[in-house]
């Protein structure tokens, strides 16, 4: 045990087990930044999100029939070959993929709220839930009063960098590395090295 936190093996089992369960049950790989990105769209374009939710709630067979009709129209219009993009759609209609159904913006936003709720439940279970306005002690130790700026700037870089790299510590670091995806291996090695270097520089010069 390290303070109030789980030992390495228990934490690793829990986090890995969650990623494994999500994949085996729903064919969803664990990742947060993509859900946050999509969830924010529900706030920015509520009308769009409502329409999207209606489409996603429709009966799969109805959707399939609509998609098939659209593809058929394309084929009928075309004398020669279907363009590759259309061909890919046609293939999916003929052979439904094993991928999970896409997540709408509203559902993605709920997922974000669920993570917040999970943190609250864990803190309550430790008897540590309380509203704390002050800077985290380690942030204050590292940056002094500049800690507020470090939180804001750090957060902005986390959001920007995760979208630019195509994933964050869960999407690239956990799911991608577990799958040995080249992009995720590169991204994870890079952001871990950048974080170690940043911590060293802050400790040396701040």
């Amino acid at each position: 045990m390290s303070g109030p936190y789980l030992a390495w093996w228990a934490g690793g089992l829990a986090l890995g087990g969650l990623a494994l369960a999500q994949w085996l049950i729903d064919r969803r790989s664990l990742g947060v930044s993509g859900y946050l990105d999509r969830g924010l769209r529900a706030l920015r374009r509520p009308d769009h999100a409502r329409e999207e939710a209606q489409v996603l709630a429709a009966d799969p067979e109805t959707l399939r029939a609509a998609l098939a009709a659209a593809v058929l129209e394309d084929v009928a219009d075309c004398d020669g070959e279907l363009p590759p993009r259309r061909r890919a759609v046609a293939a999916q209609v003929l052979e439904p993929s094993r991928r999970a159904r896409p997540v709408g913006a509203r559902t993605a936003l709920l997922y974000v709220v669920a993570i917040i709720a999970g943190g609250a439940i864990a803190a309550a279970q430790r008897g540590a839930w309380s509203l704390e306005l002050a800077l985290p002690a380690s942030t204050r130790a590292q940056f002094g009063a500049g800690g507020w700026l470090a939180l804001l700037l750090g957060g902005a870089l986390v959001g920007l960098g995760a979208r630019m790299a195509g994933g964050c510590s869960s999407g690239h670091g956990l799911s991608g590395v577990a799958r040995l995806q080249p992009a995720s291996l590169v991204a994870t090695a890079t952001f871990l090295a950048a974080a170690i270097a940043t911590t060293w520089v802050v400790g040396r010069f701040a």
Partner: protein, 135 residues
Amino acid sequence: MSRADARLMAYGIALGYVLSHMGFTDPAQVQAMFALTDLRLWVAFGLAVMIAAIGFRRDRLAAPQRPLHAGVIPGAILFGVGWALCGTCTGSTLAALGEGQLAIAVSLLGVVAGTWGYGAIHRRFFRWDPGSCGL
């Protein structure tokens, strides 16, 4: 809400719960991780990756692929610097806020602004497919 959506909510709650109990929501633990003075989170994360890999052993190609595009390395550098500065990553920022650490709301403000802002920058300047982050 469909059953799959309900299960997604359960995964979200479980993720916030586990990140909090692991200490990923505690900037002091994360600082010790990146200062290499405490290796607990490193080995815990490594074990989690190995367990997750069990599920991908047979059909790792069935999952959505993340393209290795020109934004991966610069984006990862920005992400790593940001994580070290504020002490929480995307998921742990949310879970830390749930714990009642209201200062982390400032980090979340940054994360939301960065996520939002990147969309605009991407449309204006970049050509690669940003991928779907497994959605």
